[in-house]
């Protein structure tokens, strides 16, 4: 009786001899505000499943790590395996100050920004000292060294157990409200990061970012102060990542380096970036959501999910539009966009 017909650009609905059609106008469905509205309304649908709310909160946080990471990789023109270092630094700083110094979350936020900035500035010379892949490998080694330290100085960092009992960011009368608030906070954090990074990429210094990512020697010859920009592009995203650590501390209220510092965690972030697509900044969001949802739904398979999950990801990466991931499905490439490509530089 009622007949749906899916055409390339429209859906036809036939009812007896009446016909209505709904045009799928790319201009509308591509509009990001729809997506953002959807994300804001999402709790309405999942309210009764706090675990799903937590899952997407976590997905937001993963995206909030992936977005600055993309900026960092482009601006320093190197693949970076180690943003977890700052996640760990931010987390431990917030947790320790909160536990032993009694600092409030607001105060620890300030401390996290300062500590991450200082450490990142101290480490940033490596962005121009170490060549090519070696920089990536230094970033790989640093979090592992930090992880070792959390065991060696167990009195402070409490090794595998981690720190617990930090004060919560919010104390609303009902825990479920709390979780809802955390969801919105994480969403805002993620969108804020997206906005900031997007702004940077589209600004004057964004042009320099592209030049550095393409060929830093030539950029230098064109008068770009490459070293200074690299420091900026290393330090600023590091601080953003540190703030995510702070957020984790005050929402989960436990923080253990073993969870966040090993390479496995980083690989998850890299996968998110990859599934999301090469237009990293925006792709990170659908990437984070997809990876989280796939992982969660695979858990119903029982213990086999452990090797099915990587297989599913492999299939996803292979079959999504080459190099552009989910974002490539969502939006056709426009010629004037600068689509950065990660170069693994060997020189």
């Amino acid at each position: 009786m009622v007949n749906f017909e899916l055409r390339r650009d429209r859906i036809l609905v036939r009812f007896r001899d009446k016909k209505t059609e709904w045009v799928i106008e790319p201009r509308y469905w591509r509009n990001p505000t729809i997506a953002i509205t959807f994300l804001f309304l999402l709790p309405l649908f999942v309210q009764t499943w706090p675990n799903i709310l937590t899952m997407i909160t976590t997905a937001n946080l993963y995206a909030a790590i992936a977005i600055p990471l993309a900026l960092q990789m482009l601006g320093t023109a190197r693949v970076n395996f180690g943003p977890q270092l700052y996640l760990g630094l931010g987390g431990y700083t917030a947790a320790l100050l909160n536990l032993h110094g009694g600092w409030t979350p607001g105060e620890t936020l300030f401390a996290v920004v300062v500590v991450c900035a200082v450490v990142a500035i101290l480490i940033s010379p490596t962005t121009w000292i170490a060549k090519g892949l070696y920089f990536s490998l230094i970033t790989l080694i640093l979090p592992l060294t930090f992880l070792d330290i959390t065991y060696i100085w167990g009195d402070i960092f409490r090794g595998e157990v981690g720190l617990t009992g930090m004060s919560p960011l919010l104390t609303l009368p009902k825990v479920t409200w709390n979780y809802l608030a955390y969801y919105y906070l994480s969403l805002l954090l993620m969108l804020l990061y997206l906005l900031i990074c997007d702004r940077i990429v589209r600004s004057r210094i964004g042009v320099n970012l592209a030049a550095i990512n393409e060929n830093e020697d030539v950029a230098r010859m064109m008068g770009v102060n490459v070293d200074r920009y690299k420091v900026f592009y290393y330090v600023f995203p590091s601080v953003l990542t540190g703030i995510v650590g702070w957020f984790i501390v005050h929402t989960f209220r436990t923080f253990a380096g073993v969870t966040y510092l090993p390479l496995e965690f980083m690989i998850k972030i890299l996968i998110i970036v990859l599934v999301g697509g090469r237009a990293f900044l925006y792709g990170a969001i659908p990437g984070a959501y997809l990876v989280s949802i796939v992982e969660d739904s695979l858990r119903t398979l029982g213990p086999v999910n452990y090797f099915v999950f990587p297989l599913v990801l492999i299939v996803l990466i292979i079959f999504l539009p080459r190099g552009e991931g989910l974002w490539g499905l969502y939006r056709k490439r426009r010629p004037r966009d600068y689509f950065p490509k990660l170069h693994v530089r060997r020189e």
Binding site: L137, L142, I314, V344
Partner: protein
Amino acid sequence: MSEILLKILIFTVIWGSIYLLISLGFSLICGVLRIFHLGYGVTFVLAAYGLWALMEDAKLGLGLSILLMIVVQIAFALIVFYKGVFERYLEEEEVLLTLTVLISLAVAHLANYLYPVTAGVSIPTTIIDDVVSIGYITISWQMILAALVGIVVTAIYCLWFLHTRIGLIIRALSQGLTAAMLMGVNVRRMYYLAMVLSILPPTICMLMIAPFWSVDPFMGAPLLMTAMLISILGGLGNLKGSIVASYLVGFIHAAVSFIFVSRFMGLAALIVTLIVMIWRRGGIFAGETLW
């Protein structure tokens, strides 16, 4: 004092050679295909669990199992890694890195699913199950043997690369693909060969070290880390560098654990690597070429 020096010396040589055997294949792939093979750890897992499956489940003898396992290894390396990933994504390195990691994760979890720790997987001591005393210390023959094998395999590889036609071709290939093709090199066959060459050392290594190392489904990651550390320290994909770096790491481990505490040997190696990389930006031999 001299006792400690002797200990350090002996363990530098033994551990260095073992680390060399662990990292040789990784350096080779890095040098020839110019990629970072993050799925390298799979070779160890496949070697151990493949052998176990053939011996315990298919009830084949040791020799036959080893042979068959090597065949499986080669097939896996060529079909899954080479055909499936390297050939298709050589230009998109971020995809390549992630795919190799995912494959190794899948293999490790599959091994864990089929043979969890409770299955008690191990590889038998193949040659001599005895110990020997040198000066004040006692070492198992197996360790000495592993070290010797490490030295011999490396020597064979190096000599082969330096003095044979195919070795020359592979070295040239690592520097210029089009030029090599114009010289009449069958590139694909050479890449196959390089893949095969790179899985032999870790396979031999697993057979040699299993009697004093552990066999578990997730051992690929720490072994890959060791291989990577050594490659980085020596200069990516440079065999000379790998040799020097292996013994350097062996020395650091031995010195730290005999003079100081063994708890810090891993950390010390990490820190030395960091320092070396800041001091010499491309590792010890700034590896741009296989040799």
